[in-house]
């Protein structure tokens, strides 16, 4: 799960990670009010959306006086912000974070991530702060410090020293930096983060350490034990169809093509999308109904696929294991009757009780196209959507 910068900074505050003074505003008037309380100008007005690259897209602006805050906030709130992470459609900005401006002496990069191949928690840091870290890693890997931490042992002081000395921090900044790093680690572990990134982390002219930006993602599997973090979820930032699907425990991702598809199992669902593309068509979605899907889930899956106006045909690919083919077939027939499917549907079934399943479909009186195998299914669906 992703959260906004202002929410991440709220968490930073809770964990005593220093952030600039600031507040959230939903209108230009509110933004002016927040700025007045900060005790001085300039202030920074930052669009709050779940995507990076906001500055380049015109979503972050400096304001030198109260009226300028109002004007800038007016521009940003309600704008459709396009960045390299939003896609061409961009994202509607509904709120801005108004923060005190800082005297920046140096910009650093710090992140904490899990390393899946070694099962270690890794702190990454670089003196090349404020830049695209992937580009830094590709072009000048020597500028990136990586310190692995065994999660059973936890963060030790020597880990912190390795990072601090690696960043060539001066002795005055060293102490607050190490304190901040320990608190960041505490947050990472305490809230089950999957990514914690500060870019840039700034050293101010007054030699304080401050998180100028804050990006925090959470492990979806661990949200059950963090009800406070679940409350940070912002449904405005998510695809409405995906939100709807999540209510029914369906794993759905909306894509740009016109072939809707429903599959059991994530790996087979991805492979089905691939084979649709190889047959010359484009998948409209990823939808994994899971191993234990019920007739009700199949029905909801249909409804969600069909609410995407781009869908011109549907491919159902089920390999019956736990989910028996006869159960699926009944679900498809029920769903087709209830939702009144207006587009062609190609069904490919294999596995447990496949003969009964095929019989149910054949006798349903519905106009379903059955496919003998995967290749056949992909060709048939590609033909009907053209």
């Amino acid at each position: 799960m992703k959260i906004h910068e202002y929410q991440a900074k709220e968490l930073f505050n809770k964990y005593a990670v220093p952030v600039p003074k600031g507040g959230i505003a939903f209108t230009a008037a509110e933004a002016v009010g927040v700025a007045k309380k900060l005790g001085g100008y300039p202030v920074v007005v930052k669009a709050q959306i779940h995507a990076g690259g906001r500055g380049k897209g015109g979503g972050v602006k400096l304001a030198g006086a109260a009226d300028e805050v109002g004007r800038v906030a007016q521009e940003i709130i309600g704008m459709n912000l396009v960045t390299h992470q939003t896609g061409a459609g961009g994202r509607l900005v509904k709120k801005v974070l108004v923060e005190q401006g800082l005297n920046i002496a140096k910009e650093l990069y710090v992140s904490i991530i899990p390393d899946r191949s070694t099962a270690q928690i890794v702190i990454m840091a670089s003196e090349a702060g404020g830049m695209d870290i992937e580009a830094v890693a590709a072009e000048t890997p020597e500028k990136i410090i990586k310190v692995p931490i065994n999660p059973l042992l936890g963060l030790q002081s020597y880990h912190c020293r390795a990072v601090a000395f690696g960043l060539n921090l001066n002795p005055v900044v060293m102490k607050p930096f190490v304190a901040m790093l320990k608190n960041l680690y505490r947050l990472f572990v305490g809230a089950d983060c999957s990514l914690l990134e500060i870019n840039p982390l700034v050293i101010t002219a007054e030699e304080t350490v401050m998180a100028l930006d804050a990006k925090v993602n959470f492990d979806d599997n661990a949200l059950f034990r963090h009800p406070d973090i679940q409350e940070y979820r912002d449904l405005d930032e998510e695809d409405p169809l995906e939100v709807e699907a999540s209510k029914f425990n369906l794993n759905y991702i909306n894509l740009d093509g016109n072939v809707g598809n429903m599959v059991n199992g994530a790996g087979l669902a991805m492979a089905t999308m691939d084979i649709i593309k190889q047959a010359g068509a484009e998948p409209a979605n990823f939808l994994d109904v899971g191993g234990g899907a019920s007739a009700e889930m199949v029905e909801n899956g249909f409804r969600i696929i069909l609410s995407d106006p781009n869908v011109k045909g549907i491919l159902i690919n089920i390999f019956g294991g736990i989910l028996r083919c006869d159960v699926l077939a009944n679900g498809v027939v029920e769903a087709a009757k209830k939702t009144g499917i207006k587009v062609p549907v190609v069904v490919r079934m294999e596995g447990t009780n496949v003969e009964e399943g095929r019989k149910i479909l054949a006798e349903s009186g519905l106009n379903l196209i059955t496919a003998a195998d995967l290749r056949d299914a992909a060709q048939k669906i590609a033909e009907v959507v053209q």
């Binding site: 492990d219 034990r225 994530a266 790996g267 669902a269 991805m270 492979a271 056949d376």
Partner: protein, 290 residues
């Protein structure tokens, strides 16, 4: 021959009295697997069908001599169950549970390094040696006993699809293993490839990968340097968009890493026979392994 599990494997099921645990335990027993004990804390003395239930894994091991555990415990308690199994001295732990927090698994993985135990999973279909033992949730009848091909995969139903196509071509399997779709898993492709390479009955391997992480790239290095038997590879997720978790917690393209294309290229460069069309995988394997 086979790897990791066979007809002599003695299995205790953790979470045996739950809905999933009961359902799949019965199917494993029907397949011929030696399910000799179950564990559900607080239910010692009961039976699930004819299988005796114990409070702790240690009690089950002491009473029955189990050497393998099959885990259906819910995600919030799964890490605890895995460590309990490892502490009871089990040789093999198969974790079906989906949705275990990543940090829990990281701790478990580091804890298990010092123990003589192999973990398979989590978030996996399990392991099957056709005709001998099914320790997992895969449909038994699609498999063909007798080898000579091993299957190792990060997926569930996609593995069934692959096995089914092999069986239709008359190609049997020595052992099929789902290593799981999570970022942190107990056994890697390399662990399984190494065991298949050493197994005298296994003459070739089908390796099924997907987007996310670098497990396939790591395996490619191993295949190039250490494998003498042919490996067929398949990767799902060519059309997956970056930054989106494709069902499995581990299946996510982050930045430029973890793409299907990069994995396919690494595999091809290492001499893996990469099949890019799932619809023809069975015929492709028949050609390579003939």
């Amino acid at each position: 021959m086979s790897i990791f599990a066979d007809k002599h494997t003695r299995v205790v099921v953790q979470g045996i009295t739950g809905k999933e645990g009961q359902f799949h335990t019965r199917h494993c027993i029907d397949y011929g697997t030696q399910i000799i004990a179950g564990v559900t804390p607080g239910k010692a003395g009961q039976k699930m069908d004819d299988v005796p239930v114990f409070n702790t894994v240690q009690d089950a091991v002491d009473a029955t001599g189990a050497d393998c555990s099959l885990i259906f415990v819910p995600p919030a308690f799964a890490a605890d169950a895995i460590m309990e199994a490892a502490d009871a001295g089990l040789r093999l732990v198969v974790v079906i549970t989906e949705g275990i927090p990543v940090l829990d698994m990281m701790r478990v993985k580091n804890y298990l390094y010092a123990k003589p135990v192999r973990m398979i999973g989590p978030n996996c279909p399990g392991i099957i040696t056709p005709g001998e033992a099914k320790i997992g949730i895969m449909p038994g009848p699609i498999h063909k006993p007798g080898g000579p091909i091993g299957v190792v995969s990060r997926s569930g139903t996609l593995t069934y699809e692959v096995v089914h196509q092999l069986t239709l071509q008359g190609i049997g399997q020595t052992t099929c293993i789902g290593i799981g779709g999570d970022p942190i898993c107990g056994s890697s492709f390399i662990d399984c490839l190494e065991a298949f390479e050493q197994d005298s009955a296994t003459r070739g391997v089908v390796m099924v990968g997907e987007i996310g992480g670098t497990a396939e790239e790591d395996a490619s290095d191993f295949i190039a340097n250490k494998m003498s038997i042919p490996v067929v590879g398949f990767i799902s997720g060519l059309t997956a968009p970056p930054g989106r978790r494709m069902g499995h917690a581990g299946a996510i393209i982050s930045g430029s890493s973890g793409t299907a294309q990069a994995k396919i290229e690494a595999m091809k460069a290492s001499g893996v026979h990469v099949c890019e069309d799932l619809g023809t995988l069975g015929e492709f394997c028949a050609n390579i392994f003939s």
